[in-house]
């Protein structure tokens, strides 16, 4: 069965520092991969997605992620974090080949704290 692991429950970085949030997935075929962000009181907002093609994906708010099939990873990066990036980040995988079209499998989330 599909699964997603986000090894870091909580990460703290200083404003202006670089950021990398880790995500590993378990899936037999080429997955559809997503990163969502949730700010307090808000819904989950899509940052970026990978379906096929270029393995380096650009998203909103200056985020990018790289799909590495050999490592079953889809890590999220940002070169310089802003205080407004403090939120919870969720990695998710979608199933493209079975009858469970549309169903997303989420990781547990990583809470990002940004120090001024």
């Amino acid at each position: 069965a599909q699964s997603v692991t986000q090894p870091d429950i909580h990460i703290t970085v200083s404003e202006g520092a670089s950021l990398e949030l880790r995500c590993n997935y378990s899936y037999g075929a080429t997955p559809y991969l997503f990163w969502y962000v949730q700010s307090p009181g808000q819904g989950l907002q899509l940052l970026l997605k990978y379906f096929s093609g270029d393995t380096l994906v650009q998203g909103i708010k200056g985020f990018e992620a790289e799909f590495k099939r050999s490592q079953s990873s889809f890590n999220l990066r940002k070169p310089s974090v802003h205080w407004s990036d403090a939120a919870e980040y969720f990695c998710a995988v979608g199933d493209a080949v079975s009858s469970t079209l549309g169903r997303l499998y989420f990781g547990r989330g990583t809470q990002l704290t940004v120090w001024p």
Binding site: G41, G43, F90, S99, G102, R103, L104, G107
Partner: protein
């Protein structure tokens, strides 16, 4: 920008009571979903809904749960007899299509069962 809305934002209920969580998906979307997140755990898929019927449901979505689209705008999740373990954040989502289409999520309803 269109958004998914959910009401109420927080619901407190006693064990054994029925609750209805409400969602208004984005108006031109055709696929609707419910997910939940128990505190400290993963966001889990509950059910997907298309063309006025359930497309898929997870093992969590037992006979105590039901979904309905009572009119052209609302999408509801009903829990018939709540248990303590139903306490969670419930997210509604909608999308234009499946697979490659973004799911737009609402802000969630926090359900507390006492």
């Amino acid at each position: 920008e269109p958004e998914v809305t959910q009401t109420p934002s927080h619901q407190v209920t006693q064990m054994g009571q029925e609750v209805i969580l409400r969602c208004v998906p984005i108006s031109n979307h055709l696929y609707f979903y419910w997910y939940r997140q128990i505190l400290g755990q993963k966001v889990e898929f509950l059910v997907s809904f298309y063309n006025n019927e359930i497309s898929e449901k997870s093992e969590i979505f037992d006979d105590q749960f039901s979904v309905e689209r009572p009119d052209g705008s609302n999408f509801t999740l009903k829990i018939r007899s709540t248990k303590l373990e139903d306490s969670a954040m419930y997210f509604c989502a909608s999308s234009e299509g499946t697979v490659s289409y973004e799911q737009y999520f609402g802000p969630g309803t926090r359900l507390t069962v006492t």
